[in-house]
């Protein structure tokens, strides 16, 4: 049963086609869940508007802070679809520009937390020992403080500002990733394919990145997606307290704070950005759950 192979490229392509068909099946499964599709569309819509804010927003200058006192406190109208705030700025534009901070901020926190937390978790799970113990005790230490207070404390000490708030939020955030990854690694490290790699003589770093990391990626990605929502809310809270984005920049949290005083009268000033936050967070949650079902049926 000898077979000569002259064309690996063709074989590779055939296999690739089969794998794409399998992934295509996953895509079809995803599309069947209408809610997931809707949430995905919402996310794409919000992110695109955020990126192209200067072109998408009807009143870009107002979105960035320009005041327009003649038209202040106006409800929904044809000229201003979502009304205006106390400075007469178009709410729709403010929300679109505010999305920039929220979306970028949310991703930043989650990605940085993963970049720090995942390698630490890999090490702590696989190597254990003294270094592993130090890592896990640090995790427990950071997690024992309420995350909001930690972030607030750092912001107050360093000085309020949007970048500071983001970095301050990463500090209480990374331990969750370390814990997740350490748990996954502990269960995976007794797998026989790890032992097979050890039998071939491969070292720890190789095994961590070549064998363990690809196999824990799915739960990490799912956690990241489900975390973007809470991260955005956390940014909002800090801004609400004056520790994040500084006026006149648009920020959903800040906008809710500014509009809270007028809640009984011109309610839209607080509710519109609040609803935007709600929409974005819910969309991420639904998308994350749907993705988890697809990636993890095995």
């Amino acid at each position: 049963m000898e077979m000569e192979i002259h064309d690996f490229k063709q074989l590779a392509q055939e296999a690739l086609a089969d794998h794409r068909k399998a992934r295509g099946y996953n895509l079809r499964l995803f599309l069947k869940k209408k809610l997931a599709v809707v949430s995905a569309l919402i996310l794409v819509g919000i992110m695109l508007s955020a990126i192209f804010a200067p072109w998408v927003a009807p009143y870009p200058k107002q979105g960035q802070g320009a005041i327009n006192l003649e038209e202040r406190l106006q409800p929904f109208s044809n000229k201003h679809l979502l009304g205006t705030d106390i400075y007469g700025r178009d709410m729709l534009s403010r929300v679109i520009f505010g999305a920039r901070v929220s979306v970028f901020g949310g991703f930043f926190i989650v990605i940085m937390a993963a970049l720090i937390g995942v390698p630490l978790g890999l090490w702590a799970g696989y190597c254990e020992g003294a270094s592993g113990a130090i890592i896990m005790r640090s995790v427990e230490l950071v997690l024992s403080f309420p995350s909001a207070l930690v972030a607030m404390g750092i912001s107050i000490v360093v000085g309020a500002g949007s970048m500071t708030a983001l970095i301050a939020l990463v500090i209480p955030w990374w331990p969750w990733y370390t814990r997740l990854v350490q748990g996954e690694v502990l269960s995976l490290k007794n797998m026989l394919y790890i032992e097979a790699a050890q039998m071939l003589g491969y070292g720890r770093i190789y095994i961590l990145f070549r064998h363990l990391l690809p196999n824990i990626l799915t739960p990490v990605i799912v956690l990241m997606l489900l975390d973007v929502g809470p991260a955005i809310i956390a940014i909002g809270v800090l801004s609400f307290l004056g520790l994040g984005t500084q006026p006149p920049h648009a920020d959903w949290g800040l906008m809710v704070w500014n509009g809270a005083q007028n809640l009984l009268g011109e309610w839209w000033i607080a509710i519109v950005p609040g609803f935007a936050m709600f929409l974005l967070v819910t969309a991420f949650n639904i998308f994350g759950d749907a993705l988890k079902e697809i990636l993890d049926p095995n």
Binding site: E2, M3, L11, A12, A15, L200
Partner: protein
């Protein structure tokens, strides 16, 4: 008689079980507790025993995947028990292992080609450009189609996955292979295919095997000699046919009689061995088997029996084996 490829002398592999706060070990699991045996070039040595007897640990000890506490380990005459990772690396290509669960032995995120290449990468003489060609040869050797190189493990059946594991073990052109319950998770007909493949490869490539299993029935189909392990020690080692036709150790006889024979006309009744498999944390003193042995005497309780040779390469550890043999209580 060919020379010994693997030479084990008084091997002890103990795992720490209880430690004081300062780190001093107070209790050990004595998985391998004094094993001396030779595996000759070109033979297939079977290692049979029940769960918890230490046979898997012994296989791993030879490949230095389990911590050797004391004893001498020689490969082709060279001592390797003291070597560190760097010193041992040149031996790794020569000794490989096929594990029990084929699904768990293959990284689900790697293609077959990547898995085989990972093994090929530890051979300095194989050039990277040769990997694909060499991988194809390996696939042919285990009767798999080369198209499957680009597939992922979950796309194969259990039998095929085990063939991939065998191909990986052969990638480095080893001299010695350990099969740790390699067919236990497979169906009967698939097991038959794999056993035939293994026997064929041994002949073709001149390999030496250590075949570990709890299934006695399969031993004679592939092994030349079989060793019976109990509570961390080898009780008996004989030529395969002789071991089962005329065992010299009471445990071997009990083991053999306990196997349900696939022949409804042979119902001698499965002999019942009393007691439970001993814990490796506190194995019985004297002869390990004495609490369950129907022929045990006070001597057995006090003193562990030495090795009594029966034939070159065949021996038994039992104080009374000569008597039992003469009385015919064991044979047949």
């Amino acid at each position: 008689m060919s020379k010994a490829l693997i030479d084990l002398e008084d091997i002890e592999t103990w795992f720490p079980y209880k430690k004081t706060l300062t780190g001093k070990v107070t209790a050990w699991v004595k998985a391998v507790d004094g094993v001396t045996l030779k595996i000759f070039t070109g033979e297939c040595l079977g290692l049979v025993g029940e769960s918890g007897c230490g046979k898997s640990t012994l296989g791993r000890t030879i490949l230095k995947l389990a911590p050797l506490k004391s004893g001498n380990l020689r490969f082709n005459g060279e001592e390797i028990q003291h070597l560190d990772d760097r010193g041992f690396q040149k031996f790794r290509p020569k000794m490989q292992m096929v594990f029990q669960d084929p699904r768990a032995s293959l990284n689900p995120k790697m293609t077959v080609l990547q898995i085989l290449s990972e093994a090929l990468a530890i051979c300095p003489e194989v050039d990277k450009k040769q990997y694909a060609k060499r991988a194809t040869e390996l696939m042919n050797m285990v009767d798999l189609r080369p198209e499957h190189l680009f597939r992922y493990p979950h796309e194969f059946s259990g039998g095929q996955q085990q063939r991939i594991c065998i191909a990986r073990a052969l990638a480095t052109q080893p001299e010695f292979l350990v099969f740790d319950e390699a067919t236990s998770a497979l169906d009967v007909s698939v097991q038959a295919q794999i056993i035939n493949l293994m026997a064929d490869l041994q002949k073709r490539l001149g390999l030496t095997y250590l075949f570990i299993s709890h299934d006695l029935s399969i031993m004679e189909h592939i092994c030349h000699r079989v060793a019976v392990m109990y509570a961390g020690r080898i009780m008996e080692i004989q030529d395969a046919h002789a071991l089962f036709a005329s065992p010299r150790h009471p445990y071997t006889k009990a083991l053999r009689n306990a196997v349900p024979i696939a022949d409804p006309t042979q119902k001698d009744g499965m002999a019942i061995l009393k007691g439970e498999v001993p814990s490796l944390r506190s194995p019985p003193g004297g002869c390990r088997f004495h609490p369950r042995c129907p022929h045990a005497t006070g001597h057995c309780r006090k003193e562990a029996p030495e090795v009594s040779p029966v034939k070159p390469g065949n021996w038994v550890r039992c104080h009374h084996h000569k008597d039992l043999w003469k009385r015919g209580t064991l044979g047949g």
